[in-house]
């Protein structure tokens, strides 16, 4: 069932990413720090890929490379045949690949509906009125209509993340880049968010590139889990997750789930120990 191509309800059907020997060397003070080294992975259109690895191993560096926040220093990143990042070229960040951040980045000075309408307005795809209308409709459809006029600060972290996901999805991106988006949530809120995210994923079949160090989260969500090595980050192991979709939170206690977890835990633990022994400070 992994990589199952279901009829996409989304307008754009693209979103295949090739990461080809991607590397990143930070060299601010002449002391080269290799954050990512020769990272290679083919991500199919509509695939849900989760990258796990020890904290600070360079996963975010990789995501920043795809997003266009930070240039890479070797290899190339190709999105639907277009090179979006290489040492010589770095396509501006844009709404084809939207990031949802660790601690949330809803603009506190805008109401929920204004936040969601932000993309279409700044891209001048719609008039402000149209964008607000569309945002409101979208929020109502996912059960967030009641909070449309609230400021983010007044909402729980879980609701904030859901809104943030809507703010991304309204732009019909090719790829969603999620950088530990549920890190700040407690375990229960997180499991609710997982169900919610999978519902959205099943409905839109966007390509998702998701970073975490929570193994349950990784297995529960992914089509494939990629274990990244401790710094410098390399692909250590790729595990297809053949659990059928739609998934419910009950599968995390199933024998298949636990078997997968054992394999991944093994690989991750090895890397975590390596990182621990080196004792290097984490990168962002």
């Amino acid at each position: 069932m992994a990589n199952a191509v279901s009829p996409p309800q989304a307008r754009s059907v693209a979103g295949a990413i090739s990461l080809r020997g991607v590397g990143k060397v930070y060299d601010p003070d002449g002391l080269a720090t290799v954050a990512v080294d020769d990272w290679t992975l083919e991500i199919a259109n509509g695939e849900f890929v989760v990258v796990v690895g020890p904290s600070g191993c360079g996963k975010t560096t990789l995501l920043n490379g795809i997003a266009g926040f930070d240039p890479i220093t070797r290899g190339e990143i190709v999105l639907d045949g277009e090179t979006i990042a290489s040492p010589s070229r770095s396509k501006r960040p844009g709404s084809d690949r939207i990031v949802v951040f660790q601690n949330g980045s809803l603009f506190p000075w805008k109401t929920v509906v204004d936040n969601v309408a932000y993309g279409p307005v700044v891209q001048r795809r719609m008039s402000r009125g149209q964008a607000l209308q569309e945002a409101r409709t979208l929020l109502e459809r996912v059960g967030l209509g009641d909070v449309a006029d609230a400021y983010p600060r007044k909402l729980s972290s879980g609701v904030q993340r859901r809104v943030e996901m809507m703010r991304a999805l309204i732009n019909d991106p090719k790829v969603l880049l999620l950088d530990e988006p549920f890190r700040a949530l407690d375990a229960i809120a997180r499991s609710v968010m997982h169900d919610e995210l999978l519902k959205l994923y099943d409905a839109t079949k966007k390509t998702v590139f998701f970073i975490t160090h929570d193994l349950d989260e990784a297995i529960f969500l992914a089509d494939r889990v990629v274990v990244s090595t401790s710094r410098p980050a390399r692909v250590k192991r790729v595990l297809p997750i053949d659990l059928p979709r739609p998934r419910t939170h009950l599968i995390i206690a199933s024998p298949e789930f636990l078997a997968l977890k054992r394999q991944i835990a093994d690989a991750v633990h090895e890397e975590a120990e390596k990182a621990f022994r080196l004792g290097e400070p984490e990168l962002a």
Binding site: R92, I98, V99, W109, G119, V122, G143, Y151, N171, V192
Partner: protein
Amino acid sequence: MSAEAIESSFGRRTSRAPGPRRIGRPSVNIHTLRGIAGIAAFVAVWQLGATFHVWVLAKVPTPVDVATAAWRLLHDPRYYIDWLISFKRVFLGFIIAQLLGIPLGLFMGWKTAFRELTFPVLEVLRPIPPLAWVPLSILFWPTPESSIIFVLFLGAFFTVLINTVAGVRAIDERYIRAAVSLGATPATVFRRIILPGALPSIGTGMAVGIGITWEVLVAAEIIAGRNGLGYMTWEAYVAGAIPTIIVGMISIGIAGYLSSMLVRAIVARSMPWTRRA
């Protein structure tokens, strides 16, 4: 997430609790009563001290003397004109300071090269007290009025500038990245992220700045003025009318308090998202 969960996470804010921090709409409650009690106690101690010649209060006129002087002034149209003139000067200087300080601060916070270029100059100018500028500004500005406004302007300018720069620099990189990721151009980021993101800090600068402007006023009017509350106070000293000096001082205090209230209300109004409901 179930509808119930949404309800519960949202339920908190649907009932708008009557916040104690409603600016500009005082109601008679325990907080107001305490404030009144404080003022009454202050006046009582003053009255007793002045009546029984206690220590430094021996030469201070009693509140009754001051109230008598105030009553006389309240029937003098010049007193109201002094209020108006001082308010006009303070707000003129203050507003010019905002008009120049906020854009300059935003730009300094945003562009590192520009900040590095301008910061040292401003850091040397900043500690110079506005009063030290008075002689020079009298020489260089064509009218006494313009030199007063200039000195008042300086009082508020550096405060709002520093706060604006700090506000921009404190904006979380995530917001900028999120905006760019959603398709914002640099100009849009400036207008829609940098400006609102720095607003809370700008508001603090404004609230502090208006206070400083009033502090500077008296000295500016003494040196270069022919009217205004500051000049009135000074004139009373020259005439030996001690109760009138105190009326002048209290007038300035009240004027400053009213101005800060006004500025804080405007600031709070422009940032509805910081309101605690």
